[in-house]
Symmetry: C2
Amino acid sequence: MTEHRPERTEEVPGTQEPSEIDGVVIRPAGEQLTAAVLSVGREILLGDITDTNATWLSGRLRGAGIDVRHHHAAADDLDELVEVVRWLSRQVHVIVVGGGLGPTSDDLTRDAVARAAGLELHHHDDLEEAIRQRFADLGRPSMPSANLRQARIPAGAMPLQPIGTAPGFALTMPETDDVGATRVYALPGVPWELKEMFVGDVEPEVGVLAGGHATVTRVVHAVGKGESDIAAEVEPRLAGRDDVELSFLARGQEVQVRIMITADDADAAREASQPVLEEVIGALGPAVAGIDDEELEDTVLRLLGDAGQTVATAESATAGDIAARLGKVPGASHGLVGGVAVYATEAKQDLLGVAPEVLEKHGPVAEETTRELARGAKERFGADWGIGVTGVVGPGKKNDLEVGTVFWALAHPDGEVEVHGRQVPGDRELVIARLGSAALDLLRRRLQED
Amino acid sequence: MTEHRPERTEEVPGTQEPSEIDGVVIRPAGEQLTAAVLSVGREILLGDITDTNATWLSGRLRGAGIDVRHHHAAADDLDELVEVVRWLSRQVHVIVVGGGLGPTSDDLTRDAVARAAGLELHHHDDLEEAIRQRFADLGRPSMPSANLRQARIPAGAMPLQPIGTAPGFALTMPETDDVGATRVYALPGVPWELKEMFVGDVEPEVGVLAGGHATVTRVVHAVGKGESDIAAEVEPRLAGRDDVELSFLARGQEVQVRIMITADDADAAREASQPVLEEVIGALGPAVAGIDDEELEDTVLRLLGDAGQTVATAESATAGDIAARLGKVPGASHGLVGGVAVYATEAKQDLLGVAPEVLEKHGPVAEETTRELARGAKERFGADWGIGVTGVVGPGKKNDLEVGTVFWALAHPDGEVEVHGRQVPGDRELVIARLGSAALDLLRRRLQED
């Protein structure tokens, strides 16, 4: 272990024994395993693409109980990459590299890791064969000679079989003054290849290196309250729970309460998280719109399915976005009958039977009009519930109403229609998203009350 | 200039003279200005949020003619941050830091930059006053004492006035063995504050440091062809143009051809880009769906506006997503009359007058049914054009049709209806997006032919 590496000796289960690979200590006893994510590719530095691989890898590494200390993105430049790999190897126990494993002369991850580690590249016959086979499997012409480059990995590295056509590799860097005894995993940059190779080849090994413990993150999605109100309600309920790490993340349409717990293994962590999750749900009451992967749209469709009921929409300001959001959930057809996007005023009359007097008296953005839309949606589609929305989404006022003036209405199975209105902040897209969430959240609350 | 910094001496206009600030050379003569983006905050390393600030900053820096060599994200850890700032200062001329300028003890950017540079923090009365004023402007109670911390910046740094409540600063690091004579800009991490401070305070200065030249990026959005076909058509037309940098970026629904040209100033770069843009447009012909910021939806609405025409949709598989995509464009109401999301089969009959025989004979996903939907949308909404779509978006087959089987139809003003079908790859969301783009692109092509 080099002297450069910062000490991290928080008490984490399973870290009392060191972790070794082939007799080399990767993580000394008592330390939590640390990692860096290195993304290779000029398009990230040009701002053409956002590095979502780093986000995904970080979440997975955290789930394996690993402390991610650095993200780095560098261009396809050999000297720079060598320098970055060496520097990172002095900071962390594990480096996960994404990208730079293709067949062109711009693909330099193999060369950079080899040079940083002071190793040669070795050709692997079995990798060449695997690449040839991948070309055959994909029905492509025989492997171009450029791809031979992909069969070369640093001496002593373990090959990781290609998912697409690019093999990866895992290597423990031999420790020197410049380089830490770091375990490097080189994965292709194409997101689905990176994910599959990580899950298949990297995750099991780093889980063991981490000491076998695991961190579970539970997420409570809250709608209808601000971040600071939510924090004020949740934090006192978990005071003194040093084993629980809480964070609050405001998105456009919701606030996520994120609960992190580390334990000896994934099952134990999950079990320990359950009472904490319930505590948070209890604190937030009806503001809870979903748990973990279940977001508002999923919850609404699940509740509709449980009740054997359906919904239809009549959308002015959102132009079909509410129906489309529901339609993106697999299996939506059990709960969603359909919707009408009524942009032109005449369409409100013709398709939904909104009375011309209502439109004339109240205008297209008004409580009464929204009520009629919800009623019309329910009736015309023969659904149990009907959602209606109107609003001024900008740019610019409409009929003297400010941007962000929105109404949403819900027609109940018994024929009752309730209408709500408020002023929401944000630009056109955010107003559309928030109005849609307000309407879906109203339906969610009523379904949960039933 | 430290010896560590890699040489970059490509011939770029305006780099013959060095760039100095207060007599310190930031960029030596003949070098292109290089930069790194450093994002500070644990939530990035946890994988809770994706670092979109780095993407945005990179695009802006490139526009100012600056070569971004590194992105780095680090946690709120003083030792690590000091180490990262020092390392980056040896690699590049300019570092733009985002985040870590808040009022809590976790906000360490001020301390880290000061310590990396070997400087003290100095309290600025005028910054304290500015922060107090921001609290008053926002109607919040008087400034908490914690915020006093935000009025302290490294000795000799230039304060950047707060946009929210966090001031930033600009500092030239004094050169030592460990540290390059690098210009550091520290900005708040909240995206809109970061953007406003960058545009107001940083961009003008780095533009001068870069040597006054500018890079312009033009984007041609192409729909209906694959990346390699597009490259094969465009590249030969620009062979020998060493001053033009081309890149191809495949997104879910389109391929972006990105053209980069550097010249003495933004006007000259833009002027030089125009004939290249036209060359690319000429090469791609009707596949061009938009230019620069104009995407497919914008183009469709612009062309509808030019023709004084309208469109309505009848959407099965996409559940309103096509209408919603149009509805998100400001001013959409001039071209979009409305749409119907018809998820349940009955809705297709009742609302759109699709004949029961057609549905019975061909099923809900079929050429004939799609044709009837397009016709129904046009007629029921009284629009000039009608779009109809059906498809199997998954998960799982439907009526023995594979996931990705999609049809789209367009009813023309003269009553003609054309229908197209194909098999598209991807998961549920991607199939929905691609089907919607196929339909919108068909309308775009017909509008451009008229």
